[in-house]
Symmetry: C2
Subunit: 221 residues, 2 copies
């Protein structure tokens, strides 16, 4: 029995240009109206995540910065250690022309870079650091490996009294792997990375927001 | 000839609960696709405003904090003096149980309060201060009177090479008065304050986002 829907933002409820898909807005609104709260799970900073939640009208809480920050019914928690990420960033900065994304001063648990350099090069370069790198397709995230979207979703759901088996998770990219792994029902949209599709219980026929709508129509009670 | 659309956010493209109306999303997307850029003009902080712009897919620039901050093709400018607002806030704080809204630490040109107290009481209390108070229906804003949504829209439009006479402005509340005043075509949505309706060239039959869609369908070339 699905009691909550957790959705990634960029490339899942939005198109490839980060624009909200009308179909996902419609599906999310309907889910909320039917009493099934929607949880936003994203690499965005908390301020953006909150704004997205207000516009969509979601009530299931927020997982921001790839799990580094959550906002549940009980409050806001910073779970990722940006210190580890800062060390790794300084190492990269001395070697590559890396650039932080806009509003980086508001990022409190991880560091996000513009996608100027292949993530594999950066991963190789940082192999001795205690960090994990993701390419979300929109930014490269240097994160604390002790938190991810999945571990933080479990923590958030606990505050709301929802079991992870009762959550449907929908995502599209590499940084959604742990996120889908912890959920009872794992959905990848048609435009998702192959690795995520392999893990999913269901791969939608349609991409982006149309895929989100397809999944909600198929699986909502 | 309308060359740009400027829209307020809360209560204009959203419903009374700040949730984005699917109709306004559709209308804004179509305007952009037809080459008529949409400008976001709001009392929200810049980070939220930017997020709204990304989700909507607008390209016309941003007026945030009721004109106190703009982001144009030429960069980001803080135009309002928060010092004046801070003085007024300290005066109020000593007399009334006022509370700043969430994310106030990110507000750089004005101060926004929860609507716990009648705005008229606060206005009377601050009559000797060089500030202007607005009740947007979502928050009470203490602002620098030398900037407003209208003056900042003109400044923004100049950077984009658009004349104010070429702009259609759509709003709903008291803090949209100067904003509509400077525009070539002034539209108030059906749920707007009476004073704003009196000033408008056109009052939509429908409220909120449906009104925005109605206006764009009626007036877009």
């Amino acid at each position: 029995m699905i009691k909550a829907i957790a959705v990634d933002v960029d490339g899942t409820i939005t198109d490839g240009k980060r624009r909200l898909c009308p179909s996902s807005l419609e599906a999310i609104r309907e889910s909320e109206e039917r009493g099934i709260p929607v949880i936003i799970v994203t690499g965005n900073i908390l301020c953006s995540t909150k704004t997205i939640s207000i516009l969509l009208g979601t009530s299931g809480g927020l997982v921001a910065e790839n799990g580094g920050v959550i906002k549940s019914s009980k409050g806001k928690y910073v779970l990722g250690d940006i210190g580890k990420c800062q060390e790794a960033y300084e190492f990269l900065e001395a070697r590559y022309p890396v650039r932080k994304v806009e509003y980086s001063e508001q990022r409190v648990s991880e560091i996000a870079l513009e996608r100027d350099i292949e993530v594999e090069i950066l991963k190789e370069s940082l192999k001795n650091f205690d960090v994990r790198l993701y390419d979300s397709g929109f930014a490269i995230h240097i994160t604390d490996p002790s938190v991810n979207k999945g571990s933080s979703l479990i923590r958030l759901a606990r505050d709301f009294g929802v079991e992870r088996q009762e959550i449907m998770a929908v995502g599209d990219s590499e940084n959604d792997l742990e996120f889908l792994e912890v959920a009872g029902l794992k959905v990848a949209v048609a435009n998702a990375d192959q690795e995520l599709k392999s893990l999913a219980d269901y791969v939608t026929k349609k991409p982006y927001g149309d895929g989100v709508k397809e999944a909600l129509e198929r699986f909502l009670p």
